[in-house]
Symmetry: C2
Subunit: 354 residues, 2 copies
């Protein structure tokens, strides 16, 4: 393995001293980049792309090549590779979100659900290894998975959504069935992330995109408890070192205290919570990642700088903050505005690390 | 004016003693009721229905006639009557959400925006008066409006949404333009709610359906400040009495402390926050309304009763709680499950009011 030239991101996750606040951008390899759009033209469906390690490597490298101020890279993939490997039939329709051919609502089908053979996901681990080799130690590589609850919403609804009525109906009317899905998902995610770690992922992140749709009690029972199982099941890397883990429940800032107790190294924040309040609530238990509204990148460099300054000042002096967007960068972001954000973070964060 | 036979709801809003926890359901006149679907068959578009005081009265009465345990009624209308009166051209397409023919994005069009002549909304005030007369004092009648921010999102985007990228872009790149829209909306809402009060509304509610999409600072600046203006601009009713006002920011439970300071009598809660925590955070400044996840009504009477018991116990002893769903009742709710919820609230809440 190559020596890491920039470990600022990993140090911040471990709340160790850094010279500045490290930064990366959720979905930084994406449609806002003209080079990404050009690469997409020559390949197939989105799922085909995720299954192609050469393509995944190419587009993972694009933001790193364009933005030298990025402190981390993240595997180009999708959280829905897992339900796809579980046989639910993922497909993408033009102009719409992901859908599944099958949904999990009948008791017999739910009870037949099993942890898939990880060989079906070898393309992911191949991509991790190839990207890691190509990055050649410039910055760390993040692996990731969806959370058991978030994966379950797609598996039960058959698509993304906002209400999750079928999944919630199951949660209240037949919690035993939903727990079976969640337990299967959790065991799957543990194997999946550990294989990414073995392939070279230097940090991992669990995206709980839809945990924020739950009530306080339901969040603990159906989402957070399963993320805790995953964190406890993560293995060390090939060098025998612990790989830092970030959990991110979008819309979940009401529950930061509970999140801080599950053993994760870092909590992701969207933009709803003031980061000084978040820091006060979690104390020194975890690092924090976030929390710029990606919509701000649609405005002007001056407005972007002002918001970056505001978040850095709100976090205040000290380590343990990974700057990021509170959700994926939108496809309408002018690439120069992303650069303005990265420059503002580097320029204004150094004063807080002395 | 008829004497009010059941003032439990109004007393709870004022945090006065009651014998039990009053309850109503957001969107209680709606598609989950077969009698509502039957009434809809004979009329025109949704907007036509809102503009027909006879229809509004008929469907407002339906849940009251079916569920004697309801402690309040709410005007059948839509928050988008205001942008419609402002000339943006509201229409509904089959199977889709509301849309507008025009959007407000150009400076000249934004600066031309004005408070509409309330005569264009006379149908709303006529409906309030007719419903009030028909209810004949059984329970209080609630009037309502959208919040300035929520109305602005529809006016700028031209439709509902989840990202509000055009509105947020304006917020950060041209805040002066967005503030002009918000100020115009606030002055409009003040006139609109005061006319509803003059027509007989006995409580009012401001629905900030999309305030939860904002960052902490942006919420205060672009949403809460304008709701505060409205609360300060409300007039007394024809009997010289103050009309209680509830503000409800869906997804806004992170900001309850700030909401409790704007002069509203009650704060609406969705289901994300534990109501005991919410009560502790707002102290004795306001009453609280909520906070059952409407998805629970899709499960079973036993599961519904368990969740009702949990929320009542979480709020605990004392007054100042109006039980409600944390969002509108879904169209797939079995009407008997709504009855189970209402019965559970009445049965289990009396012990907390002694």
């Amino acid at each position: 393995m190559t020596n890491l030239q920039n470990d600022t991101f990993l140090r911040a996750l471990n709340r160790e001293p850094t010279d500045y606040t490290p930064v990366w951008m959720m979905r930084q390899a994406g449609r806002y980049l003209p080079e990404y759009r050009a690469s997409r033209k020559t390949a197939g469906s989105f799922l085909d792309l995720c299954k192609n390690p050469n393509f995944a490597t190419e587009v993972t490298m694009q933001p790193l090549d364009r933005y030298p101020l990025l402190d981390a890279s993240i595997l180009f993939s999708d959280i829905l590779t897992l339900p796809d490997a579980m046989g639910l039939g993922l497909y993408f329709e033009e102009g719409e979100g992901p859908k599944f051919e099958r949904t999990l609502r009948e008791e017999a089908e739910i009870k037949a659900l099993q942890v898939p053979d990880m060989a079906k996901l070898q393309y992911v681990f191949d991509a991790v290894a190839q990207i890691r080799k190509t990055i050649n130690g410039r910055v760390p590589l993040i692996g990731f998975s969806g959370s058991p609850w978030t994966l379950a919403t797609y598996m039960v609804e058959g698509k993304g959504g906002t209400d999750f009525l079928n999944t919630k109906k199951m949660a209240y009317a037949r919690p035993d069935l939903l727990h079976h899905i969640l337990e299967t998902n959790a065991q799957t995610v543990i194997q999946y992330l550990n294989a990414q770690i073995a392939a070279g992922a230097q940090a991992v992140m669990i995206f709980d995109s839809w945990g924020g749709a739950l009530s306080h009690n339901a969040y603990i029972e159906f989402s957070l408890n399963y993320m805790q199982k995953i964190v406890a099941g993560l293995t060390k890397n090939n060098d025998g070192r612990k790989v830092p883990c970030t959990i991110f429940t979008k819309g979940g800032a009401l529950w930061l205290e509970a999140q801080a107790e599950v053993g994760a190294d870092c909590l992701g924040l969207d933009w709803a919570v003031d980061i000084s309040e978040a820091r006060e609530r979690v104390g020194d238990k975890v690092a924090l990642q976030g929390n710029l509204d990606p919509a701000i990148l649609l405005s002007t460099p001056a407005a972007i700088e002002k918001e970056v300054v505001s978040i850095l000042a709100s976090y205040g002096k000290g380590d343990g903050h990974v700057f990021n967007l509170g959700h994926g960068i939108t496809q309408w972001t002018p690439p120069e505005n992303a650069a303005a954000m990265l420059e503002a973070v580097r320029k204004h964060s150094q004063q807080y690390h002395q």
